[in-house]
Symmetry: D2
Subunit: 140 residues, 4 copies
């Protein structure tokens, strides 16, 4: 199985008055992890996706478990794998850790949509094949 | 059952290049719904909670389903009810709709923590009683 | 002179680990003040402006002075007036106060742009007349 | 003169419905440039500054000129130099460019404050010396 990894330092802008990451900022980080995954692993930049192709990959559902708080100065290591791939959707699993300590686990469902019609559409074949390299069923 | 309601206009700052609400901004709105609920329904402002009392109510888990996209100019109507109340936690259910159309449904678990020890602590009795007025089991 | 006023409570999401408003969040508030001014004072919603009309009003310049920190629970009262109005631009002056205490003063230049060409364009005559009601030279 | 440089990719989360960077997000980027400068150039992390030392460096004033719009997928190159250094303040000049095209120029005044008293305090001598290496008067 191929796992996509990414690293985010916890910056001042992510933290709340309690000095810990404010959870909506985690979702900004997660969006950036997905965006970077699309760019580097699928060679499908959001500039291309949203620009010339007029498509998007909004979340249909997202479920997050927060295991421990993250603080200013922590470095978060993200791991992303793909679960079941549907006709025009994909389950995505993302974990964030600081060193050996798990901080959050997220499961979401990405849906490929046509931005002009705001309707779901099937994955282009080559993109689907690229996604499959990151499914748990595969061994890289 | 008492239901707490709140209204949020979808502003420019919430929207992404696709012209729809960027989902991390929904979580900012949801945090504001919870913060306003604490202030108005529980008479427990976050300024008091985080300030003199040195407590916080981070989410331990949050699960969101996005039913339809929201656009600039939409007005979102939020409904909040409380589910099971634990010793120092509470399940919270929030729905957001625009007119008759459901936009998102969120279930989360708030955890009351002592900010200095970053450990869970029990609800003060009066606060727990106030929370109970918003549980589904109750009829207001 | 007509002055447009608006009120923003300082919420948890605006505050940094020092417990005060993080200054980029002030600019989100200021954008919301301008957006609300366009909607209510000029009857020109950003949904219409950005949607069917394909125009925008980005800032060409913004200069902010921060006089005193704002804290969670403060309520900010904003005052907006218009300065010199150019062919397709307008100077805007915004102050934010909490009670009698000035918190920040902002001067900016809005530029009306055609979003498809990303070029400046002149104010529609009726919009310009509406803007003029908020200039300092006028007495309402 | 030593110049501190930093690079930020324009991500989805920075962009507005017009598909360009929403200007409050530029201020988040600028805060991150300053935070990274403190960490790498001054060896003074915000975690140390805000944590054990209980100090902060809020902006007393900030003046930004936006020369051209930035879009999703652009890469912004930041340059930071220090202007006049006061007893407990420092002028900071930051420019952001994409390739050869200037996008924005920012001048601000950082103020070193004691977070508990919320009062200005003088730069520690070693920190001031480190700052001076980035002033325009110096040649590195």
């Amino acid at each position: 199985m191929a796992t996509f990894t990414h690293r985010t330092p916890v910056m001042f802008q992510h933290c709340d008055p309690a000095g810990i990451v404010f959870y909506p900022r985690y979702f900004e980080m997660i969006n950036a992890v997905v965006e970077t995954f699309f760019d580097r692993a699928l060679d499908w930049s959001f500039a291309t996706l949203h620009g010339s192709e007029r498509m998007g990959v909004p979340m249909g559902r997202i479920d997050a478990n927060f295991h421990a708080a993250s603080r200013l100065g922590d470095v978060l290591d993200w791991s992303l794998t793909i679960g079941r791939i549907g006709r025009g959707s994909a389950e995505i699993e993302i974990t964030g850790a600081c060193g050996a300590e798990a901080r959050l686990s997220v499961r979401g469902t990405l849906v490929l949509v046509d931005l002009d019609k705001m309707k779901s559409r099937p994955w282009p074949e080559a993109r689907r094949a690229a996604l499959e390299r990151y499914t748990k069923e595969n061994t890289a």
